[in-house]
């Protein structure tokens, strides 16, 4: 008997619903599914650095690391909601913390056949930079197949810009000819 396919679905705030809805029907039958969420360490770090800017004020609050506790709780709740939305209560839930792109690669480094991720970045401007830097890194370095899904409506093929008409592409150093009458 073939060993079942192992799939990791990477859920991120903002795109998680769309990601699960798009990925659900594409999952291989009998696949073992794990849901992954990474709490970024840099957001909490930036917030804590701002309180260092206050020098000594409010020492008691600073020591309690309120941000990380909140972040972990929210991450766990997000994973539970994701498993419910996918209709896979048996899914393994992986909550990690650190540099997001590195933690995702680490989570799929061994015995994972497929990583499902939502396209992030600004979808209103399609082009080389429409994939955010985190997803770009994951796509480049993932040691497994990656299924990249639209978290929202996929664009139509009319989003492809028309090629410039040959007669409008002037040779370098020349002005464009006047439009035909």
């Amino acid at each position: 008997m073939m060993p079942s396919v192992r799939v990791v679905i990477w859920v991120v705030e903002g795109t998680w619903q769309g990601c699960l809805d798009a990925a659900g029907p594409s999952l291989p039958s009998g696949a073992r599914v794990a849901l992954l969420h990474v709490t970024p360490s840099d957001v909490t770090g930036a917030a804590e650095a701002a309180s260092a800017g206050l020098l000594g004020r409010f020492p008691g609050r600073r020591a309690s690391r309120p941000f990380q506790a909140v972040a972990h709780q929210a991450g766990a709740e997000l994973l539970a909601a994701a498993a419910a939305r996918l209709g896979r209560p048996d899914a393994e839930l992986l909550e990690r913390e650190g540099r997001v792109e590195l933690e995702v690669i680490r989570a799929v480094a061994e015995n994972v056949d497929l990583l499902v991720a939502a396209r992030d970045g600004d979808h209103s401007r399609l082009g080389p930079h429409s994939l955010g830097p985190t997803t770009r890194f994951v796509v480049d370095h993932a040691p497994c197949a990656v299924l990249l899904v639209w978290p929202d409506e996929p664009p139509g093929i009319e989003s492809i810009p028309p090629p410039p008409p040959a007669h409008l592409a002037p040779p370098p150093g020349h002005h464009s000819p006047p439009p035909p009458a």
């Binding site: 360490s41 957001v43 020098l55």
Partner: protein, 437 residues
């Protein structure tokens, strides 16, 4: 009357004959080293020790060795005293607002008002963070509001980075409006000779300009993170703390009224803190110990000691050097230069000593120059928050706790916001000075 129109020392110039028993160059080096030690220990806080632990002995050492004569330390302390009292009242007021649930209510309001849209939520965070910073000081935004914003965004299952950065950036750049918005403003307020109302009137336009530039840059910088939509906002009934809102509003009115009848506005802050504090104590919302902790006595001692250490650095040469850097006049060019010098100094050392060093020279040049210094020292820290030296050390502390300061992103955002905010706010100040006078 607490307004001290003539900060001590600014008429004396560099004090070559002041020296006690310590030769000039040694005194200069010692004062500078102690300043660095004071700042570093306040940021790193080895073994969790209070920030005053190095600062107060450092100030004491400088006095014992005669590096700073007692008489000068006395005048510095007298001029800092009322400012420190004002700061204490504001710290307690903000802390009590938290105990009445003001910030939690703001979080609930932002969540429901956003309708789950991240950009709308960011706009609401801008409005709340700018208001809280202006009225209750940047401390309230960093310590009390930012965690609430973080939790609110997490509850909506949206990405928190743009909203957290909005809070940390606005804590600095939206702290231009009122003397109470930032400790640097309080220090400058007593030196500027401006009334509370006039300060607010002149700084309103620079404040709005700084917020507008932050919005434009952050909205674009984080366009990839401001995506998705919260499907349903988890209902959370959070009663609006009407009493706390009314007291804060009346305190704000009190700041203006007291300044019109020439009473120190610190009394309005004290009035607000007492009005909130007494019922809080009676209803056991806060214990006396909580209010004692909210006073931040070690920090107040730290500010006083820092003032004395900076004074010692200032009279031994650095002060006259800084005086040369502050141009006279209120032409747009001079104001821009002053703001830039202040921003650089705030990033090199830290904004508190930067403002203490620059104030004597700036107050000779007039209120316009003092306000330009504030634009520099308040908006500049978005590059390094605590000054470059301390930031380096702070990164190590964060890393030990499993967190990291995203230096490249953080500096990139700082480099994109600080120069345009500085220029926009200074141009606005220049217009404001001509319009308001």
């Amino acid at each position: 009357m607490m307004v001290d129109r003539h900060p001590p020392g600014h008429r004396m110039g560099p004090a070559r004959k002041l020296g006690g028993t310590v030769p000039g160059p040694i005194a200069e080096t010692l004062a500078a080293l102690l300043l660095v030690a004071t700042l570093v220990s306040a940021v790193v806080r080895p073994w969790g020790l209070p920030e005053a632990l190095i600062a107060v002995p450092a100030a004491g050492l400088l006095l014992v060795l005669g590096v700073l004569p007692l008489s000068q330390a006395g005048t510095e302390a007298t001029s800092l005293g009322p400012t420190i009292g004002f700061l204490a009242a504001i710290l307690v007021l903000a802390n009590l607002c938290d105990r009445y649930g003001l910030f939690e209510a703001a979080g609930t309001w932002m969540a429901s008002g956003s309708r789950g849209r991240p950009v709308t939520l960011l706009a609401l965070v801008f409005a709340v963070a700018s208001t809280v910073t202006a009225v209750l000081s940047l401390d309230a935004t960093v310590v009390l509001l930012t965690p609430v914003v973080f939790a609110t965004v997490a509850r909506l299952r949206l990405r928190s980075k743009p909203h957290v950065y909005a809070c940390t950036h606005l804590a600095n750049s939206a702290s231009l409006l009122l003397p109470v918005s930032n400790l640097t403003n309080l220090l400058a307020f007593s030196a500027s000779g401006l009334s509370f109302a006039r300060f607010g009137a002149v700084m309103a336009l620079p404040w709005l300009a700084a917020i507008a530039v932050e919005w434009l840059v952050l909205r674009r910088f984080f366009s990839g993170e401001l995506i998705g939509r919260a499907e349903s906002i988890p209902p959370r009934r959070q009663p609006v703390p009407v009493f706390a809102c009314v007291v804060v509003g009346l305190t704000l009115v009190g700041f203006f009224v007291t300044s019109l009848v020439h009473i120190a506005p610190a009394f309005a802050a004290l009035g607000g803190a007492v009005t909130l504090g007494v019922p809080a104590l009676a209803s056991r919302r806060a214990a006396l110990r909580d209010i004692g902790l909210a006073l931040e006595v070690p920090f107040l001692a730290f500010v006083l000691a820092l003032g004395i250490v900076v004074k010692a650095v200032s009279v031994h040469g650095l002060g006259s050097l800084v005086t040369h850097l502050v141009p006279a006049g209120t032409s747009l060019g001079s104001l821009l230069l002053i703001a830039a010098v202040a921003a650089v100094l705030a990033n090199l050392i830290n904004n508190l000593p930067a403002v203490l060093l620059l104030l004597p020279a700036a107050s000779i040049a007039g209120p316009g120059a003092v306000l330009a210094v504030l634009i520099g020292v308040n908006t500049g820290p978005n590059l390094t928050y605590v000054g470059s030296l301390a930031t380096l050390l702070w990164r190590r502390v964060l890393r030990q706790r499993g967190e990291e300061l995203p230096v490249s992103e953080f500096m990139r955002l700082g480099a994109l916001t600080v120069p345009p905010v500085l220029v926009a706010a200074t141009v606005a100040l220049w217009i404001s000075l001509r319009a308001v006078g």
